[in-house]
Symmetry: D3
Subunit: 240 residues, 6 copies
């Protein structure tokens, strides 16, 4: 597949996850929201990037000992070093937050390497430290135990489940204060454009609602409101 | 039933949900707290109003399509426009937060119309925007997907379940930082008065505890403490 | 068992719960994190103290009436007055947050009495008030109903379950922004010392990672990094 | 809507719930299976009938007292007497099996009145007795407490949720050993016919598989297998 | 407390758990059913006996090693040997069925010692073997792992939680095909007598319903039905 | 790895899952039981075979359409045809039983091909039909919807999670009436031999217990009992 245009990513940075779910719903996709994940740093929740996946299975005591990290090719560590710049690391922890899937040092390394963010449906440790980073990270819950206590990193770059949603490598992962949406790669361009337009329209409609317009005729807009909207666009999108 | 006196609402604005649950417990009601709901804007958690109910059932793909909103009588939109001023919109989403039961525009419209707040045991979208409103809104979790993905608004003004609690139209819905309590209408006047007195007493007792008084004799108060309390009231309720 | 040295507690105040779980994992202990508990006041999450336990079982309507508090020996109230200074009150509520296990007055009394904090796997009421205290309190969720609605305080000073973890009286209870860890008493001295060293090392390694060092060779450190670390220690631990 | 033809019901008695879900999936309906419900009497799991709905909300102690049944119009009792012959009573208990939604006497009365079965997403009491009836009853779990302990029957004949699925009055409710499916009324005739044909085909394909045919070419059938199937039909559907 | 009369136990053997919950509901007790427990051998579900309690907390790897059973005073083994004849062993496993709280040998020993049954809200192992015993045993689920993997037996003879219900030593534990009810000791005599009468009445009413009587007037019975019932009693309780 | 000796499998057919978990617990493995799975046909629960794995992720509406089965290489169908004789098909459905991971035709095909059984942590459809097969199949729950409604088969022969346990291809999968255990391949020979001996000893000890021996001295056996056991072995293992 051709590299994703920077245009699409740029547009998506102004599109909310709410708007994306509606655009995908119109295309028949109802299960695209990674339910129950929260941003560790709410001031850095805005996130757009292609998915780079890492899959965990349950730990086994004889395999998952503290010395496994002596192996420089350990899949968790290798994955951190393999995420391409601009990508989001997405981790499948089977929705199990009894242990962390990473901590402050790994999230810092991801940020330094230019990743666009990180998402896990497991836990994260060192969350007070991560909350200070200007880097989007989403998890199910803070959780102090190291990943080896519950999770075993097994492979990367494969399709995974994350928070009940299918994530294929290369899908667009978009985050904001509501949470995280997975936008299938082949729909990214058209949904980004449509979503950007929708955001602009909702900005206008919200101003109308704030000033007392009723829902009927406004949301969704009828012909009169649509005409008014077009005029507003022509007028340079002023505050109402 | 006669309209609720403004006095009762006014008193309730100074009564915590904790105090209300105790007053209702004394009357044999143990299941009045809508467990697991959080305020979207913690600075606007204080809420008092009569319940106006909206009931959702699960969505069905052939009925719940994006074009249903073209119908100006769609129950969700109609309900928003029907909530009387001073009432709280309470939504039964079967405790399912996989989708939103509303978003920024609908909550803004409710606020503009003079509603006292909104409560849902489902999700809400556009929560960063809602968190900026000076309007009490409680939900189970932020959730980006539009309600049609999971929920079907079916009727309003009927008794419902919300977060495991029975809510009858007209019941008093009270919210604060602990969450939301449903206070049956017929008990509202007496519980409001009793709760207001209890809050005043607890303000006094808390000052005593802060200054080192032991629980025994203070909480609950014995005769000596009760006498001291009466004197404090007579003295004009000074800081201790 | 001999009283715990103040040195150990002092060291633990600088050790994160994440680091503690790793030290315990190395010793074969995998289930030490009280999953799902959050600090009521995130600015006061740092907590270290010995466990003083209180056990609840389910309430029964004929036994758990509002007048039980007239008994000055009621186990909940007695427990609050019995927590030794420097100890953490740990409450077993069977992970059930449908009701509170305490509120503002009880937490204030604990603070005034010199307790080191409080932990419950149930709910807490008056959380807006507790969030203003400079006192570490962890719970599963805010919950307005009084404990009698769901819980019955039955005995204190016995081994309990809290959030899925065994807590024996005298174990070290350590809290921070990630949550709460139970550190068995007999391991406290050695784990405190090891943890304190590990924190110092991670401070150094984090600086290295921030400046662009790769994970391989740094985390965990190879011989070169270890030598560099020793030099950094000798140099007086400067900012890098 | 016109009364449902007896032909459609008759066909459905030979169609499994598995086959029905596939036919509905082809039409875009993915959420039609009432997950987690089991037949009380597995020998009487086969059930077909139109839905007659009853809705429960949570009980409230002052309203749900034992004397409510003195009212001959109590909604639960009235609903039992109102189910038309051939219909299935479907009860919305919010997936909460902490109490029963009925017991042996009510299920016996339903049977005597000619109902086609009963379905609840709550509990049922007297299950050993109900298991002896030749009458299809499905529930989430056996549960001894009377419904008033947790549930309040509120209205009948309205659209409801049952086990996470939308059930509209008049929908076809079909049960077998796998559980219960809700088949929307407007699709009943065509799905019944298609399902009946599919069952016949699967009977043939299963015999082929038992005799060693591989999945490829058989399930789904290729042209050769389809031709063989047609011959088998022409031959009078013999055992293979 | 005086020993329980054999008369009360004898009556209770003919009273269903459903009937007991209703009698306790009338006395204000709503939470007496141990939800979610099933008989291992459904043909041996009828059980009546006083509670003898055993409490488990979570296991800790350094304390719960296989060699603990070398200690003849290990609480789990000691408890089995301490259950008085006619009593029911009730185990608090915090509703966690990830491991067994006993197996075939322990259940056999209980039976041989004359216990009236066993109840656990955890798992049980060797369930195929236990299902062959003529001995009532209830658990949450079959579960092969030995208790040490998850549970630590800590003390006996104390009030416990079992399946969400308070169980005090000496309470009456009654089981049947619906599950298990805890009947507080001080109510046992009067509830046994009332329940026995209610069972007799329901036997009569069930015969009426089977023969076509409507619910109204029959269940609950009106004056005419009550008169008919009295005559039936006088007639020697014949089959109708 | 060398092929597994038939001797080991043969021994394992006489070893219960309970005994296996104890042997693995002694070796430090505590998480080997696939919690919550039940045999569809309880008379055919005995199962031993190497794991052949199939992994599912969540379905996506545009990818998981009914026509995917026209592709003879569809992973689910390909996996069924690829399971080697004597192996157990183990499916990772993320513990989600909202849809089936197979049905009667696929299970029949597995049986005909000589597989040793099938295990899924999702649902299964056509369970009444599967319950008639003399073939061990374990699932979380009966569930009518086809897998495409919720699941997407993605790859086979990789390490997976099943019911919370790590399953590596080639591990021994053992089932009985208690459920399913995963026995790591490298431990199979020694655990099989040890387990077989343990079963023989427990047969003896159970007879002792049935005849009235106390737990102390018998379970675990002291020297005297051990001597008695050796004599029993020498005597040809008679019924006691």
């Amino acid at each position: 597949m051709a590299p994703l245009g920077e245009k699409t990513k740029s547009l998506l940075r102004d599109v909310s996850t709410a708007t994306l779910t509606t655009a995908l719903f119109k295309r028949g996709l109802r299960n695209v929201f990674l339910a129950g994940l929260r941003p560790v740093n709410p001031r850095a929740a805005r996130m757009v990037g292609e998915a780079f996946t890492l899959r965990y299975i349950p730990a086994r005591e004889d395999l998952d000992r503290i010395d496994v990290y002596q192996d420089p090719k350990h899949p968790q560590r290798a994955a951190i070093e393999a995420v391409p710049p601009g990508h989001v690391m997405v981790m499948d922890c089977r929705n199990d937050a009894r242990a962390a899937s990473g901590g402050g040092i790994l999230m810092t390394r991801l940020m330094v390497r230019g990743a666009a963010g990180a998402v896990t449906d497991g836990g994260l440790r060192d969350t007070p430290e991560i909350a200070e980073l200007d880097f989007p990270v989403f998890c199910r819950a803070p959780s102090a135990p190291l990943n080896l206590a519950v999770h075993h990193a097994v492979d990367m770059g494969v399709p995974i489940a994350c928070a009940g949603v299918a994530v294929y490598p290369g899908d667009l992962i978009v985050g904001d204060g509501d949470g995280v949406v997975c936008l299938p790669r082949h729909l990214a361009d058209e949904v980004a454009a449509e979503g950007w337009e929708q955001e602009r329209k909702e900005r206008f409609l919200t101003m109308k609602i704030r000033k007392g317009a009723p829902l009927v005729g406004t949301y969704p807009p009828n012909e009169a409101t649509t005409a008014e909207y077009k005029k507003w666009l022509a007028d340079g999108e002023p505050e109402l």
